[in-house]
Amino acid sequence: MMQWLSMGGYWMYLWPSYLLTLLVLVLNVGYARRSARLARLEALRRVQGAAAQQGRS
Amino acid sequence: MKPPATGVVSPGKAGWRLVQRDLRLGLRRPGEWLQPLVFFLVVTTLFPLATSPELSRLRDMAPGALWVAALLSSLLALELLFREDGQDGTLEQLAVSGLPLPWLLLAKTCVHWLMTGLPLVLAGPLVATALGAPYASIPGVFAALLLGSGALSLIGAVGAALTLGLHRGGVLLALLVLPLAVPVLIFGARATSLAIAQDPMTAPMYLLGAIAVLSATLAPLAAAAAVRISLE
């Protein structure tokens, strides 16, 4: 196991690459979901605003 | 019903009139288009000051210094291309003139190159000799700058059209145009260094010429689309 982790002495280049990749993958998921959620909230507000406007007029 | 207007001008002639107008305007305001030239000279002067006055060392750097300075200077000049015409409504008039907008913008870009690019092309070989290039290299350096600066003006026109009327236009324009100018920079600098070394420079010159032709055909179309979008 330790031998596998050391990757023939290349561990200090290899594992940071994989870690960073994981980070980019996770962050992209997070940001995408956040932006989709914000867009939904924004749309909801707009729809409700329009409904309220119609109710007034 | 009203009869159609008489004496309609052909697009070719209209383009020529636009060239005349922009030339006349430029000549009435020489300060504006001389500034990029002065900028070019100042930047190329900074290179020896920042490194060493030895001509043998400067000669190696001359192509790079020349092209980076030419690129930055043409970038600086792009502000002049559409800004005023966009603000005072001239571009609007051109867009609804019933004349092909890409053609009119090509005419404007040509004048822009005459006023800001051509001075660099003329000054460039002199600067190169000041940086240690032999006199025999002058025609080669001149030819490389001639093709390259034309392509830079055309590519820049697209960027200038896209950033028309934006508040943070200046820095954004640099960010848009500089990556697109990489091939021109590479082939231009290579042609220049071959000229300085007195070697045949056909390969990079062909490539530079290809880029110039491609830009001359596609850039006006893209710039026209961008101008229409910016006018919305």
Binding site: W4, M7, G8, G9, Y10, Y13, L14, P16, S17, Y18, L20, T21, V24, L25, N28, V29, Y31, A32, R33, S35, A36, R37, L38, A39, R40, E42, A43, L44, R46, V47, Q48, A50, A51 | V158, L162, T163, L166, H167, R168, G169, L172, L175, L176, L178, P179, L180, V182, P183, I186, F187, R190, L207, I211, L218, A222, A225, A226, I229, S230, E232
Partner: protein
């Protein structure tokens, strides 16, 4: 040819629904191929006879680099469709591609230089691929900067679409010029990332991971695009039905 699918995909409610159904499929398939590729690449594949275990960085670097180019191509295609057919859904897709593509370009750059350290002895080498990748990052940043600078979404969509198309024409020229430039100045031998003569035990995990990255990209783009479609939608009725708001 029947083009109704094209127009139906261009209608926001349809796109929203179809994308919502596709996302889990893409996501799970991406996870599956990704894990399979990782097992194959990190455990099963033998060490390289020249580079030892160090070559295993290619299993993240190459997919990231491939994705960075592919995302630009996808962005430009979507932008072109949006510009020509005035299709808001396509603009929404193009807008979603940029940030993801930029992040993978960045990833390809960093993993490339981490891979370069043991191979070249330095983190940064003016290698043609890395240099092209760097220029591409600038292209992405320019695209995002232009989008950011324009307030009106419709105008931002169209202006950035023109830029994406100009960029996609330039991209091969930039690649070629950088390769050409590098071949002139290259004194030392270049190490190639992916050898054509890779044994299947090394190549299959790489292909699996590439597929996984592409599927992942598709899933993320669709998640983002669904949000962007809502931002661009004017006709509120289906949004109201969708979100269950009183209308």
């Amino acid at each position: 040819m029947d083009w109704t699918w094209f127009h139906r995909f261009g209608s926001p409610p349809h796109f929203y629904r179809i994308a919502g159904k596709l996302i889990p499929w893409f996501a799970w398939l991406a996870a599956l191929t990704g894990v399979a590729g990782l097992i194959g690449g990190l455990i099963l594949a033998p060490p390289d006879y020249q580079q030892g275990e160090g070559y295993r960085i290619i299993y993240v670097h190459v997919p990231a680099a491939v994705l960075s180019t592919m995302a630009y191509a996808a962005m430009a295609t979507a932008a072109g469709v949006g510009l020509i057919w005035r299709m808001n859904v396509a603009h929404a897709v193009a807008a979603s591609c940029a940030a993801i593509g930029a992040s993978f370009t960045f990833l390809a750059l960093v993993t490339g230089s981490l891979w370069g350290r043991p191979m070249w002895g330095t983190y940064w080498q003016w290698d043609p691929r890395l240099t092209s990748e760097l220029v591409m990052l600038f292209l992405y940043l320019g695209y995002m900067g232009l989008r950011d600078a324009i307030d009106d979404t419709a105008r931002a969509d169209r202006a950035s679409a023109v830029l994406a198309l100009v960029g996609v024409i330039n991209l091969p020229i930039i690649h070629y010029s950088v390769d050409w430039w590098n071949s002139l100045h290259q004194g030392h031998t270049l190490l190639k990332f992916a050898k054509p003569s890779m044994p299947p035990s090394m190549l299959v995990p790489l292909l699996l991971l590439m597929l996984g990255f592409v599927l992942y990209f598709a899933a993320i783009v669709l998640v983002r695009s669904r949000g962007e479609v809502l931002r661009r939608e004017r006709n509120a009725r289906w949004i109201a039905e969708l979100l269950g708001a009183p209308s």
